[in-house]
Amino acid sequence: MTGKPFGIGLDVGSTTTKGVMVDSKGSIIATHLQGTGASAASAVAHVLESLFSTSGKTSDDCRIIGTGYGRNIVDIAYKTVTEITCHSVGVNTLNPDIRLLIDVGGQDSKVIKIGSNGRPEDFELNDKCSAGTGRFLEVMARVLEVSMDDLGPLALKSKSPCTISSTCTVFAESEVIGRIGSGDSPADIAAGVHLSMASKIGSLSKRVGVATPIGVTGGVALNPAFRYYLSDILKADLWVPEIPQLTGALGAAIIAMKDNLVS
C-alpha cells in the first residue's frame, strides 16, 4: 500500500484556520485553531507546524486536504473538498445520528441535511448578506462594547428582547445604535440580536427541512444565547460537539484517510 498513515484536514475560514490530524482509525492525534488574520497562507503554515510538533509527524506521513473558503491556497493539499461535505463527514464521525447540521461560521451559515452515509443530501447557505453569520455577532458585540464571550451570557439575562431586523448587518448596527439611544438595556438589545440571527438561521433550516437530531457547529455554536433561541425556534434539542469549530477540518482529515485506504 502506497498510502500514508495519517490524514490532515485544514479548514481555512474567514475568521479562523483549523487543523485536525487523525490516524488510520480516524482517532484524533492533534488539533490546532488560530485566527486567519491577513495572511491565510501563514495561518496555514502555523497550523501545520503546530500539528507536526504536537504529533511528532512530518508532511511525509500525512495526506492533506484543504477545505473552507481558503481551501485553494493550501498548496500542500493533494485535493480540496468543500466545507459542506467536510462538515457532514466530520459530524457524522462524532455523532452518526445527526440528520441536520447547522454550521454557523464567520462569514457564512449553512444548513446541511446529512444522509445515512454521512454525506450531504441537500444544503442551503445564507445569501450574500452576513446577517446570519458570526460576523453579525462580532459587529453587535463591538457596538454594545462587550466581548464576544460575554455577548451570549448578557443576552440570556433579558426578559424582553428588542426587535432587531435581520436583513442587513450594517442596517442592524444602526438599529442597535438607535436602541441604545432610546434607552433599551444592553441585555434586551443583545437578546434581540441573537433572536434575529436565530430566526434567520431557523428559516434557512426550515427551507432544507427540519430533521432531528440536529447538530450545531462553527464558532457561533459556542454562544449559549444563540443555541437557546435557535432551539426554541426549531422546537428541538441541539447537539454541539466539544470543539464545534473543528468539525470541518475533522471531516477533511477523515476523507483523506478514507482516500488513503483506497489508494
Binding site: 468543500t82 459542506i84 443530501e121 441537500d122 447557505l125 445569501d127
Partner: protein, 403 residues
C-alpha cells in the same frame, strides 16, 4: 492547443460571427431606410419580418454587452440617469447604451423607428421600452399575452389574436406597409423550419455523450432569437444539425470526458461563460437547459387567419409565460428525457420572472426526480452581482454529492 482543452468547440460557431456581422449591417441599413424595430425576444417577429420591418434585439445587445465584460459600465450609464441597480440589467444595458452609444464598443443598437414589446417574457419590458421610446422618439407597440394558468383558453387566444391584428395595423401605419399572405406564409415556414432544426439539435443532446454543452447552445441560439423567418437563419441550423448529428454518429461529446450530466435553469451569466468550460474539466456537461428550450414552438398555418391563430398559441405558451407548475413539469421532463444527474438553478437578480419560485421548485423537482440541485445567485450582465467564490463552493458541494 484546442485538443488539450476539456471541451470541443462547435465548428458551426464560426458562422455566428458572419451572421452577427450581417445582422448588424442590415440593422444599420434598415435604420437609415426607416424600417428598423427593436423587438423583445419573445415577440412574434414573423409578422414584422413579413411586412419588411427589420427586427433587432435589445436583450441580445445586453448579452453582447455582458459577454464583452462592459456590463457594469454600461448599466452604470443608466444608473447615472437615476435608474435603480435593482432594475433588470438587460434594461439598464439597453437604456445606458442608448444614452451613450459612442461609449459602448459593441452592443449599442442603431436608432429604431418602432419598439415592439411582448410581455410574455416579463413585465419590465413595458416601462423599459417606454424609456427607450423617450430616448429615441420611436413609438411603442405592446402585445399583451396574459400569463397562462394552465391550457390556453379560446378567449385567451382570441384576445392575443386581436392584439396581433392591432400589430398589423400599427406596422402598416407606422411603416406604410402591408401584410401579404404569401410572404407571411413563407416567413412563417422559414421560422418553423429553423425552430424545428434547432429543436432537433437540442434533442440530440439526449445522447451520451452530449454533442452540445450549455455554452454551445447559448451561443448558437442567437440566430433563432434574432433571425427567425429569414433564409440564412434556417441555413445556419441545417449546418449546425449536420455537425451535431455527425458528433452523435461518431460518439463525440461536447466535453472530452463526460461524467456528470446536469440541467441548467435560467439565463446564463454572459460575462463568465468559461464557468461551463471550467466545469467541463471536472467532467460536468449540461445536456439541457430551460433557457434554450424556451424556443420550441413552431408556427403552423395555411393562411393569414390560421397563421395568426398559431402565433397566438405559440407566443402565449412560451416558458416564462406559464405558471410555476408548468416550469417544474418542464424541468422534471428534461431531467428524465436527458437522463440528468442533478440541476443548477441560477437565481438571476435581474430576471424576477425567471427566478421567482426557484427555491420552492428546487424542492419539488428533487422530490419528483430524486436528483439533487443547487441554487446559485448572480446576474446575467451585471458582474458586480456575481460572487465567484460563493458560487464555486455551492456547485462543488453539489458535485461532491455524486461521488
Amino acid at each position: 492547443m484546442n485538443d488539450e482543452k476539456p471541451y470541443r468547440k462547435v465548428e458551426t460557431q464560426a458562422l455566428l460571427q458572419q451572421i452577427a456581422f450581417r445582422h448588424g449591417m442590415e440593422a444599420m441599413a434598415a435604420s437609415e431606410e426607416g424600417t428598423l424595430a427593436w423587438v423583445s425576444s419573445g415577440f412574434p417577429v414573423e409578422i414584422p419580418v413579413a411586412m419588411n420591418v427589420f427586427p433587432t434585439y435589445p436583450e441580445q445587445a445586453g448579452a453582447i454587452i455582458g459577454a464583452t465584460k462592459i456590463g457594469p459600465e454600461v448599466c452604470g450609464f443608466a444608473e447615472d440617469l437615476g435608474y435603480s441597480q435593482e432594475l433588470c440589467s438587460y434594461a439598464r444595458a439597453s437604456i445606458g447604451s442608448t444614452d451613450r452609444p459612442d461609449d459602448v464598443a459593441m452592443g449599442a443598437l442603431p436608432k429604431p423607428q418602432a419598439l415592439l414589446g411582448c410581455n410574455n417574457i416579463c413585465g419590465t419590458i413595458l416601462k423599459w421600452y417606454d424609456a427607450n421610446s423617450e430616448q429615441t422618439g420611436a413609438p411603442v407597440f405592446l402585445l399583451d399575452t396574459p400569463p397562462l394558468e394552465a391550457e390556453q383558453k379560446p378567449h385567451h387566444r382570441a384576445y392575443v389574436k386581436q392584439g396581433l391584428e392591432r400589430l398589423i395595423e400599427f406596422l402598416a401605419k407606422t411603416f406604410n406597409t402591408t401584410l401579404e399572405e404569401d410572404r407571411f406564409r413563407e416567413v412563417s415556414d422559414l421560422s418553423s423550419r429553423a425552430i424545428k432544426l434547432w429543436t432537433q439539435s437540442l434533442k440530440a443532446c439526449q445522447n451520451k455523450p452530449s454533442p452540445l454543452n450549455c455554452a454551445d447552445r447559448f451561443l448558437t441560439m442567437a440566430p433563432v432569437v434574432s433571425s427567425r423567418g429569414m433564409e440564412h437563419c434556417t441555413e445556419f441550423y441545417e449546418v449546425l444539425l449536420a455537425e451535431v448529428e455527425d458528433r452523435v454518429k461518431q460518439g463525440i461529446g461536447a466535453i472530452r470526458e463526460e461524467k456528470i450530466r446536469l440541467l441548467w435553469d435560467n439565463i446564463p451569466p454572459w460575462f463568465i461563460l468559461r464557468f461551463f468550460n471550467q466545469l467541463a474539466a471536472q467532467g460536468v456537461v449540461f445536456p439541457a437547459d430551460t433557457y434554450t428550450h424556451a424556443w420550441s414552438g413552431a408556427v403552423e398555418g395555411t393562411d393569414t387567419d390560421s397563421l395568426l391563430d398559431g402565433i397566438a398559441d405559440i407566443y402565449s405558451n412560451v416558458y416564462l409565460n406559464k405558471n410555476l407548475d408548468a416550469k417544474v413539469d418542464k424541468m422534471c421532463q428534461l431531467i428524465k428525457d436527458f437522463d440528468l444527474d442533478g440541476f443548477v438553478m441560477f437565481s438571476v437578480r435581474s430576471c424576477k420572472r425567471y427566478s421567482l419560485g426557484q427555491l420552492v421548485s428546487k424542492e419539488i423537482v428533487t422530490e419528483r426526480t430524486g436528483v439533487p440541485g443547487v441554487v446559485i445567485e448572480g446576474d446575467m450582465v451585471d458582474s458586480r452581482l456575481f460572487n465567484e467564490a460563493q458560487i464555486q463552493t455551492r456547485v462543488d458541494a453539489l458535485l461532491e454529492m455524486f461521488v
